[in-house]
């Protein structure tokens, strides 16, 4: 099961089993955003507290497969306390990690994010998710939380 071990790294299963930052935040001041994967019904709910250009708190809800939920958990840990700008850079870096394959699946013509742009960004644990790119259908599971985050940051701006 080499392929599977690539997809389901230990750290992913750990986030899946023990998701970080589960819960809700009072709205307002927090902002609530939801996203669905129309394919499989995966659902991500995000509560975002943004103050002075900083993501001061994050809570997550929703349900879905190990990949979508682990990605949500890892994302929440990664952006909590970060500036909105850094969070946006992280979104772009994560999607770059996934994007060649996502766009291939959708028949899109590539992405405008240049590698150079993101060279300095450290993804840390998130890199564990790169095994997903070998399973194109699952890329949408991994990116769902990040799309919801992007929407949340736009709406809290």
């Amino acid at each position: 099961m080499t392929g599977l071990q690539d997809l389901y790294r230990e750290i992913i299963l750990d986030h899946y089993r023990a998701p970080r930052n589960r819960g809700e935040l009072p709205v307002p001041p927090a902002h609530k955003v939801e996203g669905f994967n129309p394919l499989c019904g995966d659902e991500v709910v995000l509560y975002l507290e943004v103050e002075g250009g900083v993501v001061t708190d994050v809570r997550t809800g929703g349900q879905g497969c190990s990949i979508s939920q682990a990605s949500t958990s890892m994302m929440s840990a990664a952006v909590k306390g970060k500036s909105v700008d850094d969070a946006r850079t992280l979104i772009r870096a994560f999607k770059a990690l996934m994007s060649i394959h996502e766009s291939k699946l959708e028949g899109a013509e590539g992405t405008d994010t240049t590698e150079a742009d993101l060279a300095g960004v450290r993804l840390g644990d998130l890199e564990a998710l790169q095994g997903v790119v070998k399973f194109p259908v699952r890329i949408k599971c991994a990116t769902l939380a990040w799309n919801v985050l992007a929407q949340g940051l736009d709406e809290s701006a």
């Binding site: 995966d42 939920q69 399973f135």
Partner: protein, 410 residues
């Protein structure tokens, strides 16, 4: 009556496909069935000898193409017990067939406050068109609820049908496998003055369908679930309804006359078939109908029932309470579809793991999100059976699920 599965398997070229070291165990026929060689050959033969646009040319190959296209319509009509071939309208799929009714009959007949009765088992194809009509016209939707074992709960049926204009229900759920008693529902609906639309998408592949015995008004289904090509499906409707309905899409073929001022419509069924149709696909659907007829739909039903009973028992034996199985417990009440869910492994992850050993099962909401909410789950895994599956395939599935369970165990 039992099927010669080995012989049938040899008819399906894709079953020679290997996934890694494993043979393909295709358990997703409820989503789309595989195609026997005779269906592919029928389409290739048309392209290689008699392809031309239909109903248009005077020359020989155009006549042949037209004759084959219309012969396919007649076959499809006979397959579902339609009294007349002209009552069969070719559509892209069951979804378009239902939308056609929503756009023509329903928009001509329903207004604010008119009631359409659906059930909690419905596929999105039989939900969203009515939501669209509700948003546009203010019709009211009512829902037949489910019993604890996921059959239709008919105790409140008369109240639901009271004043209803249309009852639109599936004949067989693509999630729980539930077989719906269409004749009883149709009788009740007609008694209440409602028309009856049946989503026969799953049934046509698994049980003998007779629209006359059902006493339905509209019946929708797709070719790709009955071992024919995708890209074509059918709406059967009573001739007098089709005659009275306004047309749907406008264009070539559906007209009698067109001026700069207006247009008049062609006879049924062509009135509803605007533009160049899926010609080879109709011929392929006809060949698929021939294939199933040769096997015999009673034999197909017995086969599906047998596999379902075997699968239900095998899953219960192996996984007990750790695996939730949806739908009626008795295989007599269900088609060849088994949805299930481990307590703490997501359906998506299960599918992924069993794919490693060549097992194709569907994971997700199966285009039935209202039902998912009622089942209280975001998604299920689903194994469904075709004429090419046998008990061995079920055994492989059970074994693969065992691996998945082990893989995700702490």
């Amino acid at each position: 009556m039992s099927l010669d599965v080995a012989a049938i398997r040899a008819d399906f070229p894709i079953l020679e496909r290997r996934i890694g070291d494993h043979r393909l165990v295709y358990l997703d026929s409820a989503s789309s069935a595989q195609k026997p060689q005779v269906v592919l050959d029928a389409m290739d033969r048309l392209y290689a000898t008699s392809y031309a646009n239909v109903h248009r040319g005077v020359y020989a190959i155009a006549e042949e193409a037209t004759a084959e296209f219309e012969a396919a319509r007649a076959k499809v009509a006979r397959f579902v017990g339609a009294p007349e071939a002209r009552e069969v309208v070719f559509t892209r799929n069951a979804t378009e067939a239902i939308n056609l009714v929503a756009h023509t009959w329903a928009r001509a007949n329903l207004g604010a406050g008119d009631v359409v009765v659906l059930s909690h088992l419905e596929h999105h194809a039989n939900v969203v068109p009515w939501h669209q009509l509700a948003a546009e016209r203010g019709i009211e939707l009512r829902w037949i609820p489910l019993t604890d074992d996921h059959r239709l709960d008919l105790t409140g049926l008369d109240a639901l049908l009271d004043g209803a204009a249309l009852l639109s229900v599936t004949a067989m759920s693509n999630v729980t496998g539930t077989i719906v008693d269409v004749p009883a529902l149709a009788a009740a609906a007609h008694a209440a003055g409602a028309r009856v639309l049946v989503d026969a998408c799953q049934s046509v592949a698994q049980v003998p369908v007779d629209v006359t015995a059902w006493d339905a008004d509209f019946v929708a289904f797709s070719s790709h679930k009955i071992y024919g090509p995708a890209g074509i499906g059918a709406l059967w409707a009573r001739a007098e309804l089709l005659e009275a309905m306004p047309p749907f899409l406008g264009g070539g073929e559906m007209i009698r006359d067109v001026t700069t001022e207006g247009f008049t419509t062609n006879d049924i069924p062509w009135k509803f078939e605007a533009g160049t149709p899926a010609i080879a696909e109709a011929v392929g659907m006809g060949a698929a109908v021939d294939y199933l007829t040769a096997i015999g739909m009673d034999a197909v039903r017995a086969h599906e029932r047998d596999l379902t009973a075997y699968a239900l028992a095998a899953l219960r034996d192996r996984f007990g309470d750790r695996l939730r199985i949806f739908g009626p417990p008795d295989a007599d009440d269900r088609g060849g579809v088994v949805s299930f869910l481990f307590d703490d492994i997501h359906a998506h992850d299960v599918s992924q793991v069993v794919d490693e050993v060549g097992v194709c099962v569907r994971a997700g909401h199966h285009c039935a999100k209202p039902l998912m909410r009622i089942l209280g789950v975001p998604a299920t895994s689903r194994a469904s059976f075709g004429v090419y599956n046998d008990r061995d395939d079920v055994d492989v599935l059970v074994e693969a699920l065992g691996r998945a369970e082990a893989f995700f165990a702490l």
